[in-house]
Amino acid sequence: MDWKVLLEQAPSGGMTYLGWLWSGLFWTLAVSLCAWVIAFSVGSVVGVARTVPLRVPRAIATAYVELFRNIPLLVQMFLWYFVMPEVVPKAWGDWLKQDMPNLLTLPFAAQFSLWEFTAAVLCLGLYTASRVAEQVRSGIQSLSVGQTNAGLAMGLTLPQVYRHVTLPMAYRIVIPPMTSEFLTIFKNSSTALTIGVLELTAQSRQISEYTFKTFEAFTAATLIYIVITMTVIFAMRALESRVAVPGYIAQGGGR
């Protein structure tokens, strides 16, 4: 065991190996949180669309979920990063591949361009959206039809029913499964290393390659992942108890 190796000067970036790990953590968080914004918003729209009494939006939403859930995330990553720039008009593809600014100028210097980051965020976001959509849908469908009907009977329009009756309940009910989707997005963000995003897993592998201290490098990254996991679980538990619906005993928690 030689933990001091992490404090040695790394060959690039003007920082120690520990600095590489921080930089990796920064990019893991950046990719995951940006992707989560996409996943949550797109997923909510798709999830709602799967429950509306209109055939076309429902068919589109179902197709979306089937498409994104049945292709491995890694393959989707390659589709966004390698295939997409080739099948759009050439000028756009070239712009994506060549003219996106390099991220070297940002804090936590990274040796990849904004295009790698964007592709990773888009891919992870739209993939996770299909899973979020399923949670939103199951949350909405777990409510009794009576709630929607009562809302409609009171003269609310369908969008109003969703806004004031269905969704406020559904979102609170699905917090526990949503927590595990949120945890999964941090773990899945490591897939971005295959297209050159130097996130946490990539940095720990890079450290092991440079120093041959594989055990120390992997342990450090593993500990950081555990801290992320625990933080998310604590935060979501706090959120859950804050917004808990009176009268429901740990709804959805037993899943």
Partner: protein, 227 residues
């Protein structure tokens, strides 16, 4: 826009087929191993002895809180080391496929143990109690009363997890093992036709996983009626 040349897929059909066989092999071994060790882990977690349940819970939570790729890297690093320690042979004794298999079995057994645990906990307490009252011991009551019912309840979730596992086999790409995706990637590098090959991989995965997940849904509906 570039011109598509789908002929490249036919040209590399053998490499792609070999890759698919590697993927399927990894999938089958990981599935069997994952369910077997996952069941043992679940039993260990539910055991009344702290000495057994705490380490099992620790292992499962540890594996579940790190990325799959990180776990693959870990076992890719650890497996040859541990094997050479026990057999006295040097690292060459363990190939990349074996390391990948160990990684997948370990990760999947953690995932499956959660499914099995939920399945066992869904069985009413009266069932094992009745089994004990009839004079069965722990293993008999588990093996003949609790687990058969639990497995029936869990079957849809286990199969859904199997579809996810099949998709996850593509992750061995990170240790340069030539699975289906790896074979396509290699052919793409040789010919410069990555676009066609990656689209082909996506389509094949989509068709297989789509059909499989729909079969699971139908099975789920049938089992639900049977209850």
């Amino acid at each position: 826009m570039l011109e598509f040349d789908w002929g490249v897929i036919w040209k590399y059909r053998e490499a792609l087929w070999d890759g698919m066989l590697t993927s399927l092999q990894l999938f089958a071994i990981a599935l069997a191993g994952g369910i077997f060790f996952g069941t043992l882990l679940a039993l260990a977690r539910l055991a009344p002895w702290k000495l057994v349940s705490v380490p099992a819970a620790g292992f499962v939570n540890l594996i579940r809180s790190i990325p799959f790729i990180m776990a693959i890297f870990w076992f890719y690093f650890l497996t040859p080391m541990i094997v050479s320690k026990f057999t006295g042979q040097q690292g060459e004794a363990v190939g990349p496929f074996t390391s990948a298999v160990v990684a997948f079995i370990m990760v999947e057994s953690a995932y499956y143990s959660e499914i099995v645990r939920a399945g066992i906990q869904s069985i009413p307490r009266g069932q094992p109690a009745a089994a004990y009252a009839l004079g069965l011991n722990y293993w008999q009551s588990m093996g003949q009363v609790v687990l058969p019912q639990a497995f029936r309840n869990m079957l849809p979730v286990m199969l859904t997890q199997a579809v996810i596992l099949f998709q996850d086999t593509s992750l061995v790409y990170v240790v340069a093992l030539k699975d289906f995706l790896g074979a396509a990637s290699k052919a793409g590098q040789l010919t410069g036709r990555i676009v066609e090959l990656y689209i082909f991989v996506a389509v094949v995965f989509f068709i297989l996983c789509f059909l499989a997940s729909h079969a699971v849904k139908r099975l789920q509906a049938r089992l639900a009626v049977g209850r």
